[in-house]
């Protein structure tokens, strides 16, 4: 774990320090408010300072996150936050990287980066505000939309089986896989703190209802269904039960930490990072010895 992460909570940092320059323009009631707040609290609880953190997002309602947050931020391209974040983390392995985005952004157009960052185990936290819809483009199906769901692009109902981001992440090698619910902020904060402290690629898929475009999966839908894994003594090392529980979608839907494992991160295995601080801060000119080492084999 990098030092900043385990630092004692610095007395002076509060969640307000992470409040952005502008207030979110999300619809009143949007689940994303809760996620924003949870991250602010989690980071201040961990004692991190704004400049020790970067939030990186794609494009979407949820991806507007960095603009509402006071930390380093990158509002990149639709679907590309994980790729950008891998570059950031490689060039500055000391900074805490949090990717934020939507289900369309992360599992639709960005799906391939999601697959590959999982197996690379890049040490960052990925928060997906999964509202099972494309919010910003005013309501089309997303890869997690339920079968039969009527949207502007599926006026007769969705015919594509939704994908399950948790089982996908587990199978692809993610080392921390959890699910949160915007309607349970305490629990969500706990998960976020846990994920940030985990060394490796952490996914938290968060039910974050879109109150404007998804009337099927709203708070009323989730409230009676959501169950906490923690209440059942789930063992996060057991990937099979994790997958089984993750696949449940009916009267009981689980949230919590489904899976956790320890294996070296991409950065851990990168010899260039063994010493010398972030490569983004190192002197860049070649030394005489390096120059010589280049020329010699050419002769």
């Amino acid at each position: 774990m990098s030092e900043t992460k385990t630092a004692e909570p610095a007395a002076e940092i509060t969640s307000k320090d992470f409040k952005g320059k502008v207030d979110p323009d999300w619809c009143p009631g949007c689940g994303d408010f809760s996620v924003l707040k949870s991250v602010q609290v989690a980071l201040s609880d961990l004692g991190l300072k704004p400049h020790e953190v970067v939030t990186i997002a794609g494009i979407g309602c949820s991806s507007n996150f960095p603009g509402y947050f006071n930390a380093y931020g990158m509002h990149t391209l639709h679907g590309r936050s994980l790729a950008v974040a891998t570059g950031v983390k490689m060039a500055n392995h000391e900074i805490t990287v949090i990717c934020t985005g939507g289900d369309g952004d992360g599992y639709g157009i960005g799906g391939n980066h999601f697959t590959h960052i999982s197996r690379r185990n890049v040490d960052l936290t990925y928060l997906v505000m999964n509202n099972q819809i494309y919010g910003l483009t005013t309501g089309q199906i997303s890869p997690t939309s339920d079968l039969g769901m009527k949207t502007k692009s599926t006026p007769f109902g969705n015919i594509e089986k939704p994908l399950n981001p948790l089982t996908q992440a587990i199978m692809n090698g993610a080392t921390f896989v959890a699910r949160g619910y915007a309607g349970n902020q305490k629990h969500l904060q706990m998960l976020i703190k846990d994920a940030i402290q985990h060394r490796g690629f952490s996914l938290i898929d968060i039910f974050s209802p879109c109150v404007t475009f998804n009337h099927d999966n709203d708070y009323a839908f989730f409230r009676p269904r959501v169950r906490k894994l923690e209440d059942e003594g789930h063992n996060p090392e057991d990937w099979k039960t994790a997958c089984e529980k993750a696949l449940m979608w009916g009267d009981e839907i689980y949230i919590g930490k489904f899976f956790q494992a320890q294996r070296p991160t991409l950065g851990d295995q990168e010899p260039v990072l063994e010493e010398g601080g972030p490569i983004g801060h190192r002197p860049i000119a070649l030394t005489d010895e390096q120059a010589e080492a280049i020329i010699k084999p050419m002769m």
């Binding site: 990149t76 900074i95 990072l273």
Partner: protein
Amino acid sequence: MKDATFDFALAIGGAAGQGIATPGNILARMFVRRGLHMYAYNAYQSIIRGGHILLTIRIADAELPCHGDKIDLLMCLNQDTLDRHLPVLGPGARAVYNSGNVETGDAPEGVTLVPIPVGELTDNNPNKLMQNTAFIGVTTALLGIDFEVLSATLAETFERKGQEMVDLNVSTAKAAFDYTHENFETFPDLVPSADEPLAVWSGNDALAMGGAAAGVKFYAAYPMSPATGVLHWMANNARKLGIIVRQVEDEIGVANMVIGAAHAGARTMCATSGGGFALMTEAIGAAAMMEIPVVFINVMRAGPSTGVPTKTEQGDLWQMLGASQGDFQRFIVAPMNALDAFNTVPELFNLCDAAQCPGIVLSDLLISEGTFSVPAGKINLQPEIDRGELITEPRPADDGGLADPGGREGGGYKRYELTESGISPRAILGLEGYVHVVSTDEHDEDGVLISDEFTNPHKRRLMVEKRSRKFEGIVGRVAPPELEGPADADVTLLGWGSTWGVIHEACEQLADVGITANHLPVKWIVPLHGEQIVEILGKSKRVIMVENNQSGQFARYLRGETGFKADGHIRKYDGEPFMPHHIVAGVQEQLADNIEIYVPQHEIMV
């Protein structure tokens, strides 16, 4: 070649999998160690075994701009090679082949056949590679080189494989060497030697080294011919140079990853070819909008689409010009040869850092996969590095000034401050005191989006103009193209990028046939020295543009920027590079007013 007293081209032909590279490397090493200059072009196909490869290695005692027109010595590793190329060999040339498995054809007048009974000389060794070693022995003999030179090189080459392999190769080569001296005459011009041994690199090596010299600390790639060599160089040298090298799932990932790493302060680079570049285009616009400097290398091959992956072309210019939506500037530079490519990369990095924008190096297969000698002394691995208005030191909050009224860290720092130059000091991510957000959405000075709640046509206009302003006068920061050759020539040849070498040599050949030609090679595409180019061309008697593509991509672009229209064009788009005589013929046809666009027919079938 005007300056050369010795100018010789040998070619090795065979199928993929016959191990052409090894004899090529051994011979090349022998020559450059002697201080001879080398320019090698390999004509090959996109398969691992089979097909037909023709590796042409030209050597001379003066710098070589291209692989020339002729083959003096052809080594046929198989029947196909002899069948294809014997008919187009010129007087004085010789064809070496294994008389044990290749049937001879009719040699053109003046061409000497050199049949070698490889089986006999190797005691019928079943190792097929022995033929290659035998042919090296033959070549060494024909060129009058001492056998010791060859045996030393063989020893070095096969060292890794054990003494037995060394001995076998040396004895095979010796047998062939002796057989040749017994049965054939040496070439009239024997190989000279110069003082200083030269270094050898490919264009891709040069590009990668240029990146290393510029201080690249993060390199990402997805393999794609003919750009993969850059990845291989980087991967091999990563550890000793402290460069993180990542192979990524696709080119989209590559482009976005280098942007991320660049924003975290590293100089970052990536290389691909046209199809991969197509996938990167969206990210290029993102880099422009977030104002993050990154260098993209596009190594062109024959298109469109998958096209002819192992063949060269200058067909991607418009893709570079149009990459990504919206109006924004990107540097585009097309180096003229490997050394130029090497020197260009650090220069481009300095420009990109200065203007905080993406830059593109436009190379092609001819440069990137060619193998060239280079005097080691010309390789400056410690060029000037200028990172522009980059903030790299933290500014603690108690230093005052950069907290916003709400007391939030960094809130007073304006990443996109409206300055006179359009350049806003850029703080790399992670510094204390400069907390800010960068965005691909249009934003205000402080990074806040104006694309949603705050769309504001006045602010939007200011930001567009700010970004545009960064490039005012930037053309003055790079060297304008210079006319090579006599100012009052009959004809001016206007080329860009990799055609520099072949046009250079064509000018010499034109002089030999009584046509004075000068040459204006353009390297910087964006920024373009429009005024200077028009001024130079305005004095020309007749301007002929030379391009390795079908539609005249540079001609159309140049006309759009300057209004200039050339008198004629020489174009080639069959996958093979120009040879000097193609250009000579094109100029002759045009001077005779026979044709406006001349397209040479490539004689060598590969």
